[in-house]
Amino acid sequence: MTNNLLSSPFIRKPLRTQTLMFWVIVCLLPGFIAQSYYFGIGTLVQVLLASSAALATETATQLLRGRSPAAALADNSALVTAVLLGLALPAYAPWWAAVIGGVFAIAVVKQLYGGLGNNLFNPAMAAYVLLLVSFPVTMTSWIPPQSLLAESLSLSDGLRLIFTGFTRDGFSLLQIASVDGHTLATPLDAVKTGLSQGLMTEEILQGVQFGAIAGHGWQIINLAYLLGGCALLYLKVIRWHLPVAFLVSLIVLGIWGQLFGLTNAAPVSLHLLSGATMLGAFFIITDPVSAATSPRGRMIFAALIALFVYIIRTWGGYPDAVAFSVLLANMCVPMIDHFTKTRVYGYNVEHDDD
């Protein structure tokens, strides 16, 4: 008969992995609501599409591996990946984008590397990059915020756009995404092209897609994500090292760029409140599996991401760089871990002799 002898300790902190993941999804809600407000029902649809694809893939892969799907699904990690991916996708991207992304994220990036806890790259970001590289036009066709559209999209129109590629009236995504006849770029995109054309920052910021501080809808969305992130910090689901290091580094780099009058330097506020900055700071780079382990290592990891983000945003070819930066930093994590081992008690003690 097997004994049920256990080893100490016999009590545990009540926080479980599924609870952690659950709180992450909950704290995404403010940002999600903001995004839905500005970009319509498409956000929800993308999230739902990605989630169902991800969960289905997770079940399938677990069965293929001969393990129980229930256990894997119970820890909510696939759900978090899918939600993040869904939020990153343009609201009216075709349905197959979300599905391909979801399947790729779970099957290839997570399960093929060994399942939960063993993946080297951030699954959501890797899937996003796959889509971005394979379908560049689709992925950059962000429909401008509803408020800027000539006519806002209705629910059925939105759904039809996603699932068929055309609205009831026969307009395609690209056509919808134009304001005054030309395709509206995302705020970051606008800044980049504007700066390269020699415009001054102030002039660019007068553009239609800009609001009080940064991009029109984007600033609110980012603030909403910031709120969610602070909630996460308060709940102690994540620790301060990663978000703070990332944001501080980004600020520092922004200031440096502005001080030295770099041609393509966007203002700091734009960096902070545009694109996926806040989403990345609190929800993407804090993915524990692919981040560094020790606190010092994590700060270096976050700073590295900030550096990559700044470089790519300023000089690179893509308007938003969080996804690429995260993947690049993921590659550096083993080395970061090796060089940032904590000091163990009793070794390399600095004695102050009294």
Partner: protein
């Protein structure tokens, strides 16, 4: 075309010269690999690998002998050797696998010992105390479990006994403990009976 040939030839000559110089200037005497291999072997000097001791086997390995012949070392040693030599990890040799046993030490049953000293001569680490016509006994701490003493004994009085775990050497395998469930009520009743009896 000709410049390419000349350039490559010159490069080859330069690098060949460097390598040759290094081969002579930094030559290492002896075979350090044999020493490193010997460090990894368990030093039981039992001869089960076919060599008379661990050092000869280490030297043989340095010359290319198979590394999976050591039963006392087990698969762990094979893996360590493979790691050192940078080769693939072979499975422990079939004959060596049969001989893999839990670590034991020898024990002499003194009532059958006739004092012939044959086992003393056989022990490679001098772990048997005794003299001609005197009682022989094993120094348990020094015995490596190589079993070379078992065969020569004419009265078959040497037995190999596995070493038992103590609470200080326990391996923390919780699922291997048998639980003894004692019923307190019946136990104390029994003791009371014994008292009253």
């Amino acid at each position: 075309m000709i410049e390419a040939i000349i350039a490559l030839t010159v490069l080859a000559a330069i690098f060949g010269g460097i390598l040759g110089f290094a081969a002579i200037r930094y030559r290492v005497e002896g075979d350090p690999i044999a020493d490193q291999v010997e460090q990894l072997l368990p030093q039981t000097q039992c001869g089960q690998c076919g060599h008379p001791g661990c050092r000869p086997y280490a030297e043989a390995i340095a010359k290319g002998e198979a590394i999976n012949k050591c039963p006392p070392g087990g698969q762990e040693t094979v893996e360590k050797l493979a790691d050192l030599l940078g080769v693939e990890v072979p499975e422990l040799d079939a004959s060596a696998q049969e001989k893999e046993k839990p670590k034991s030490v020898a024990f002499i049953h003194e009532e059958a010992c006739i004092g012939c000293t044959k086992c003393i001569q056989a022990c490679p680490v001098d772990a048997i105390v005794g003299a001609n016509k005197q009682m022989h006994t094993i120094i348990t701490k020094e015995c490596t479990g190589c079993e070379l003493c078992v065969a020569p004994c004419p009265t078959d009085c040497i037995e190999m006994r596995p070493i038992a775990q103590t609470s200080r050497t326990w391996d923390w395998q919780l699922n291997k403990i048998d639980i003894a469930v004692i019923d307190v009520a019946s136990e104390s009743a029994k003791l009371e009976e014994a008292d009253n009896a």
